[in-house]
Amino acid sequence: MTMVTEPPVVARDLRLAYRLSRSRSSTLKEFAVNLLKRQVEYEELWALDGVSMDLEYGETLGIIGPNGAGKSTLMKVIAGVLRPTEGRVVVTGHLSPLISLSGGINVEMTGRENIVLFGTLLGRDPADMKERVDDIAVWAGLTDFLNVPVRNYSTGMQARLAFSIATDVKPEILILDEVLAVGDTAFRRKSRERIDYLMGGGTSVLLVSHQMNTIRELAERTLWLDKGRIKALGPSADVVAEYEATT
């Protein structure tokens, strides 16, 4: 077994500005009027303000912090959905992002169609995905619901489906943004098993959660974000204890 020399995720001095605005023109008409008045100004909100971190090979890194701390923004920057305004992130390996529960799930489509579509969105071959449908459905416990539109699934069922697809092939990096929160105990136990299995194969996991026991259970290290900055980064037990002391 060869060792990978680069950490799968290397982020340096990430800053990301959302343009918010009193005068942000959301219509073309307003924009034209504002342009004439020379009032095209933006107020910048730094959702990330100098974040540097590494995700090591085969580790689970917990991400915690209050709402609006920049957790999901950081995940989107790492996933390549958003580009950092400043700084740089280098991601080496296949990445399966499960951002805000459903990831690439389309509720209008059936479970079967979603397995093929989401798999293709993750860069896999549609023909391969068609062969994987049954196995994925079995793990998610959704065999009887494969031909039902996902609209009719419960949130827990949707999360199981998305998680099952995203972890079907071992990705090198897995982003779990609040995915485990909606599942029941059985789902959490099964996901825990699968995450352990993936980590054994070298998958690194970024785990965003508000549930401190999930973080303590699964993550070796934890990153505490607050207002776009790193408040603490270290062994989960220490960081979580520190975080809980403040809230």
């Binding site: 290397v10 959301s26 958003l82």
Partner: protein
């Protein structure tokens, strides 16, 4: 600081390996080199990236086009007829209203209904619906774009392709009517893909242009929708060009869509080649439209998803 250096060295090594295959330094481990690398600081190339992204996502585009077509058919009793309903109804209404007025003034060698349906198919069904679908594609698929690192141009191109597929389906009733009315199907039908593909490029260009604007300003799509409703009047879709006063004909001919229409009609029922300038104008407008759209799109691309 040390870590930063490692990162840069690692990145350069990957570049070196990509550039000179087979000359990887021995210290590099095999499984690192086979993995995809995403670097947020990688430079963006205005044109290259769009083509590359579309090529890399070919199987996804295929899947999305098929989904686009089947979703519409599966959900409804009418199935595939939904696609045909719009142009056929439009044609029927216009035929009832205009046939008495225009059929005597137009080209006597072709039945008015063939002239009309061919125009409605190309201008209303293909061009207008394609540009609108492509232009609204980013806003429509924002849910996915916010969660998955899919190049947004994939969705704009998918919508244009789906419009082309609908247009191709719409050709069948036209050919059927040509047979019934005795016009027949000339051999030049084999050349119809030429204006069809030129139109695909034009729609993709305009779609990308509108899509990138629609992300920033939500009223753009309303404005575009109104403009697109006018296109059917701006070119001779249902009226013969000869009805337009000579002094105004130049304004119709200046519209690139006129050239597409003339070339298409020549191939699909007349069995003749349009004047050379129509081909040149069609090709030029397709290429210019595409490159302009891609350029604007690439320039306004930076963190598009932050605005969705």
């Amino acid at each position: 600081m040390g870590e930063q250096k490692t990162m840069r060295v690692g990145f350069l090594r990957v570049i070196a390996i990509l550039a000179v295959p087979g000359q990887a330094p021995e210290s590099t481990m095999v499984n690192t080199t086979e993995l995809p690398v995403y670097d947020s600081a990688a430079p963006r190339r205005v044109y290259v990236d769009v083509w590359k992204n579309l090529g890399a996502n070919a199987s996804l585009i295929k899947l999305l086009v098929v989904r686009d077509l089947t979703l519409r058919y599966k959900r409804s009793v009418l199935g595939v007829w939904w696609t045909l309903l719009n142009p056929i109804l439009t044609t029927a209404v216009m035929w009832i209203v205009f046939s008495q007025i225009f059929s005597r003034q137009g080209d006597p060698s072709v039945p008015f209904v063939v002239y009309l349906l061919s125009g409605v198919l190309l201008i209303s069904m293909y061009f207008s619906q394609g540009v609108l679908a492509s232009g609204s594609s980013l806003v429509a698929s924002h849910g996915l774009l916010e969660k998955m690192p899919i190049p947004p141009e994939v969705f704009a191109f998918t919508a244009a392709l789906a419009a082309m597929a609908n247009f191709a389906i719409g050709l069948f009733p036209l050919l059927f009517i040509q047979l019934v009315t005795g016009v027949g199907i000339p051999w030049t039908i084999l050349l119809v893909p030429i204006p069809t593909f030129a139109m695909l490029l034009l729609i993709t260009g305009l779609g990308l242009l509108i899509a990138s604007m629609a992300v920033h300003f939500f009223d753009v799509l309303d404005f575009v929708r109104v403009l697109l409703q006018l296109t059917i009047w701006l070119v001779p879709t249902f009226y013969p060009l000869s009805m337009v006063p000579d002094a105004f004909q130049i304004f119709i001919k200046l519209n690139p869509l006129y050239s597409y229409l003339v070339v298409f009609r020549g191939f699909v029922y007349a069995g003749e080649f349009a004047p050379v300038w129509n081909f040149v104008y069609m090709g030029l407008s397709a290429v210019v439209g595409l490159f302009f759209g891609v350029w604007v799109f690439s320039k306004s691309m930076r963190n598009l998803t932050a605005y969705l």
